[in-house]
């Protein structure tokens, strides 16, 4: 049948609306992560405060996406690619909400550290932050452009960010072993690294969801580092 009937058109329109909500949420989460990292680098406490304040809106929008998806399922009983699209939107919304939360966590660390001098200049953490943000952006681009291979690329890069995390972990550990008085200043940085590593995990989850959406295939991690 070349002509789509009205319920089909209604389902298409509702799906499009669902994805518009999801992409708006993605934009918010990306911005929060970015601001959290910038606030840390610049030791900008006001900016960190603003990141924390932005979280309520993200939580509300996550809920809105989930409710919209629920309504779609209840009203249209979608199957196959329609169903995958809706379930994927719900999963991705959760990951975006967690990414925004990790931005909040990083902002909290920035606030806790206040204006105290850093243990060491930030070098690897900004590199990790760039990588984490790229992974988030690329996973979302793969969704928008419907490119499974780009999503697979994000999935592979999770190993990179994990390796970087281990490097930072070892470095900070050696500081602390050498001089236990550095522990108080090393731990917050370790937390930041850990949060960024988790951002990478959520970006990987998004990428996996995109691959599932586009191909119906499940990507599995060889070595789940959880």
């Amino acid at each position: 049948m070349n002509r789509e009937n009205m319920p089909r058109r209604a389902l298409n329109a509702a799906q499009q609306e669902l994805y518009e909500g999801l992409l708006a949420l993605a934009g918010q989460a990306e911005k929060m992560l970015h601001s959290a990292v910038e606030a840390l680098k610049a030791r900008d406490l006001d900016m960190a405060q603003a990141v924390i304040a932005a979280d309520d809106a993200v939580d509300r929008n996550t809920l809105a996406v989930e409710e919209a998806a629920e309504t779609l399922i209840a009203r249209y009983q979608p199957v196959a690619s329609d169903l995958r699209r809706i379930v994927t939107a719900m999963r991705i919304a959760r990951d975006l909400e967690r990414i925004a939360d990790l931005g909040v966590n990083i902002a909290r660390v920035t606030l806790d550290m206040g204006t105290e001098p850093l243990l060491k200049p930030l070098i690897d953490i900004p590199r990790m932050a760039v990588l984490a943000q790229e992974m988030v952006r690329d996973s979302l681009t793969s969704l928008i452009e419907e490119r499974a291979e780009k999503a697979q690329e994000v999935h592979r890069r999770d190993d990179e960010i994990d390796a970087l995390y281990m490097q930072i972990f070892r470095e900070l550990l050696s500081f602390m072993i050498e001089d236990p008085r550095t522990i108080r200043r090393a731990i917050p940085l370790l937390f930041v690294a850990r949060h960024l590593e988790r951002v990478g995990d959520h970006a990987t989850n998004i990428a996996e969801a995109v691959v599932y959406l586009l191909t119906g295939q499940r990507l599995t991690k060889q070595d789940p580092k959880r």
Binding site: N5, M6, P7, A10, E67, T71, A74, R75
Partner: protein, 252 residues
């Protein structure tokens, strides 16, 4: 004024000693599709029939309460029932075209109302058939007998017959129960399109249909209004446990 909103206040209906509707108070939004759902015998069709006084045809029916359409109570004694049924059209379970031509079926209402000029009549018939998404299929056989059409086409013809007198409200009592899935899809398609023009009240046993095509859903049980609300809400988080039990198929 012409919003097609229907306000029902304390509506009760009994047939002889049998009380069928108990004190229903409900507003049906104009230019929306409202689905009335509920198990057999819950009073769905009776509620629908009150809306254009079809209940008048039942000898021992007693109807009380108010139904306000366009600022007037259609249950009041002075209400001209013929005029009411022009404003509030109805489509039934089984298509019931007159045993005449396609054209004459649609022209029937306008002719009764005194429209005689051929050109004008042609225009009204075409418009109504287009409104019922039937024009393309019958334009070359307007003078064929209506009963030669398929079941789904006959049902759309009945809808066109209603539309020809420009009603504000269209009542539909299980309009797809005698149709196959393809014909059903066309009627559903039509229903969702019609809401731009008029108020549609749809009685259906098919919960998926109610979920797909309606904006609001009303759930009746044993003649009582259990819950009314947005369709999305009724089908995801109904307030009343009986509504949830019904839409999830636990009874009825």
């Amino acid at each position: 004024m012409d919003t097609g909103k229907i306000e029902i206040a304390s509506l009760s209906c009994a047939f002889g000693s049998r009380q069928v509707l108990h004190d229903i108070t409900l507003t049906l939004a104009g230019r929306c599709v409202t689905a009335i759902i509920g198990p057999s015998g819950s009073g769905k069709s009776t509620l629908l029939r009150c809306l254009n006084r079809m209940t008048d045809l039942v000898p021992d029916a007693r109807v009380s309460g108010k139904i306000i359409l366009d600022g007037t109570d259609i249950l009041r004694r002075e209400q001209d029932v013929v005029q009411l049924r022009q404003k509030v059209g109805m489509v039934f379970q089984k298509p019931n075209p007159f045993p005449r031509s396609v054209y004459d079926n649609v022209a029937y209402g306008p002719r009764i109302r005194g429209l005689r000029r051929r050109r004008e009549l042609d225009r009204v018939v075409e418009e109504a058939l287009r409104g019922a998404a039937l024009w393309e299929e019958v334009r070359d056989r307007l003078h064929a007998p209506a009963l030669s059409l398929s079941g789904g086409q006959q049902q759309r013809l009945c809808i066109a017959r209603c539309l020809a007198v420009r009603p504000q409200v269209l009542l539909m009592d299980e309009p797809c129960s005698a149709l196959d899935p393809a014909a059903t899809a066309k009627i559903e398609d039509l229903i969702t399109g019609l809401r731009r023009e008029l108020t549609v009240v749809l009685v259906t046993h098919n919960l998926q249909q109610a979920a797909r095509v309606s904006d609001h859903t009303v759930f009746l049980l044993d003649g009582e209004l259990v819950e009314a609300g947005e369709t999305a809400t009724i089908f995801t988080r109904a307030r009343d446990p009986r509504t949830d039990a019904y839409v999830t198929g636990r009874f009825g």
